[in-house]
Symmetry: C2
Subunit: 398 residues, 2 copies
């Protein structure tokens, strides 16, 4: 693991609620300095968990002063009706009162089982205990405390130098299915040592999401709890102006951080044995590029073929053919790890079963779909469908 850069003004503490995961830390508090700016983006699912509703409200009306993120794993507090809202308000209010800050500055996040009442006092106790252990360099413990059935913590840290200035970026995320209503959700928190305007922060956040968490799929599902937060600490020595070289370089590094976190999620997806990148190019427009990439990436037949290490070009070709945005297959080329599979809608004469079989043995698979109808492109990352995927997801909830 490369060096993890601490971010001035950001501190972490974690503790255990002693509920679903025994005495494992499952409750994380992140304190954020008062000069910081936050950008939050949340699930598109119409079923929004109580903490998501609360976080959206609070972020839209932040007051001056320090901010706090409260993250619990083990219970999603989703589909719990008014009780869920009351519960989340309760622990946010208590923590705000403890810290003597505005309640609106307390932002909650949850991941875990859907539809079970939150053991609110247990988590409140854990948050209080976590507040006694705040540290500026607690990244690994923080990234571990928010996990559900992920098999490892996911942290990415970068430093980008522009002239004499250097900007640090460190983030962590969790999630091993796009949705795991039992142990649900994608959560991501990225912190940047720099001062940016709120507009610029939001813009960069949107840009980064489009090519990272909005470009991965494990099972096509979307959780009621998905949340991504990008925080800048407002360091006055590291002011980034819109249109500057600093902005361009920092944006690029933030985007890379998001993409690498997304890749860590897919690599640790439920039952995954392969990391698959589906890159669609020469599409007539962005909609087509994205649509075809997701159609291929979400095809159970492509995903099971990948698991079987079968360079089954017929399934990939057929998935492209059924995509609603496709007019014809005349200009179509498909490659796998650089090897030609399909040309003009049928088997490429250069295709070699033997060579393709060998290429499929790799853990990382790149499927290139060249549509030949324009100049737009989009890449989706996904995992394969294994027997373990079925076992994990057919396991009874309790």
């Amino acid at each position: 693991m490369a060096k993890i850069h601490n971010i001035e003004g950001i501190e972490f503490g974690s503790a255990s609620s002693n509920t679903r995961y025994g005495n494992r830390d499952d409750s994380l508090v992140v304190t954020i300095n008062q000069e910081a700016k936050l950008s939050g983006k949340f699930t598109s699912n119409k079923l929004k968990a109580a903490p998501v509703t609360e976080a959206i409200q609070n972020l839209s009306a932040l007051e001056k002063g320090p901010k706090v993120l409260l993250i619990n794993a083990g219970n999603a507090n989703a589909a719990n009706g008014q009780k869920g809202i009351n519960d989340v308000k309760k622990y946010c209010k208590e923590i705000a009162s403890d810290l003597n800050i505005e309640q609106k500055n307390v932002i909650p996040f949850s991941t875990g089982v859907i539809g079970e009442a939150l053991p609110v006092d247990s988590y409140l106790n854990a948050f209080r205990s976590a507040l006694t252990k705040l540290k500026n360099d607690g990244w690994k413990k923080a990234a571990s405390a928010i996990l559900t059935t992920d098999t490892k913590p996911k942290i990415i840290s970068k430093e980008v130098k522009v002239g004499k200035k250097s900007y640090s970026i460190t983030g962590f995320a969790k999630g091993s299915g796009m949705i795991r209503p039992d142990f649900a959700t994608l959560l991501s928190f990225v912190f940047v040592d720099a001062k940016l305007s709120q507009n610029l922060l939001n813009k960069i956040h949107n840009q980064a999401l489009k090519v990272s968490f909005e470009a991965i799929t494990v099972d096509g599902d979307t959780s009621p709890n998905d949340s991504s937060v990008l925080v800048t600490n407002g360091n006055k020595e590291k002011v980034v102006k819109a249109g500057s070289l600093d902005e361009r370089k920092l944006t690029q590094a933030i985007i890379e951080t998001f993409k690498e976190l997304a890749e860590l999620l897919v690599a640790d997806a439920e039952g995954a044995t392969k990391l698959i990148k589906v890159k669609v190019s020469k599409a007539k427009n962005q909609i087509q590029a994205k649509s075809v990439a997701f159609t291929v990436a979400e095809s159970p037949l492509v995903k099971t073929a990948m698991y079987g290490s079968d360079a089954n070009w017929g399934r990939i070709l057929s998935a492209v053919g059924r995509d609603k945005t496709i007019d014809d297959l005349n200009g179509l080329q498909i490659k796998l790890n650089g090897l030609p599979l399909v040309k003009k809608g049928y088997k490429d004469p250069k295709y070699s079963e033997k060579v393709a079989s060998k290429a499929m043995k790799k853990r990382e698979i790149s499927i290139e779909v060249v549509l030949g109808s324009g100049k737009h492109e989009f890449q989706v990352m996904t995992s394969d469908f294994s027997e373990d995927y079925i076992l994990i997801n057919s396991d009874y909830r309790s």
Copy 2:
């Protein structure tokens, strides 16, 4: 098995090509009397197999005289480029010449592996051999000859009485994934002992497809070879006029035949252990009803929960919530085999884990999603995702 009604004018013969399936019959010839009318509907996949292209052309330009259907299993003749077209034209021409009928009256269908050259002489020999064994009552052998990895033949037969007249309907189909590019495709052939206009025939065919083969999904994929044919033999004693009671009753019986064939396909889907009916009602329009039904039916998390006999209402609720046509969940109710799961977007107070667990033990599961925003409804049938599904589909092609 109920009585199978023979259809005057329709005869079957089958034989083996001695290719993929050894000496199992894999080649079927259906001869159709000259008074008959045919309606054919084909895959929406832009990748159309050579026999599909040829069948569409021929059906649009049928000549007077008898017609012949040629169906082979084991090779889909898809993605084979110009050679595929040449091959299918070759055996159609030879059979037309043998029978001294118009080549346009020979309609080809294929199911099997994609992208392998058709062993055209082997299948031509088999078709010729099949022609020597024509019988009017050979339904079971016919339904068996077109199978690929289906585990059993699928035949539905009905008789509908209107006044003194009785109309017979008998059909068979194959298909155990919506697409199985290795052993691909849904094929369906239904024959009716009646005389209908071509317009009425097409109308009934469309109506029947909407609620049968267009309302099932195993894996969300669509084959390049999917074909459905509805044939009336033109029996002059059984004339059906548009707008008559006979039309209404016969249409109903044909629709039922299609629905029951579709149900047989889903029940025999790859690795299926459950037959799941997802019924969406009180939708604001037909598009919403269909969209929500397919979103739930194709959710891998719902399908794996069903396999695990887990009444996981959180996953169903979450799938509904992420459907793009959904505005809010305020009026939402979800039931499973009649038991209340969700009310107004969260757990129904009447929900009982114990009762739900018991209900889930059944092989047939009905999921009712009541949206409460209108009066439209749609039902999709699907199967669960089991370890066998993964094993079957991750098996290497050759």
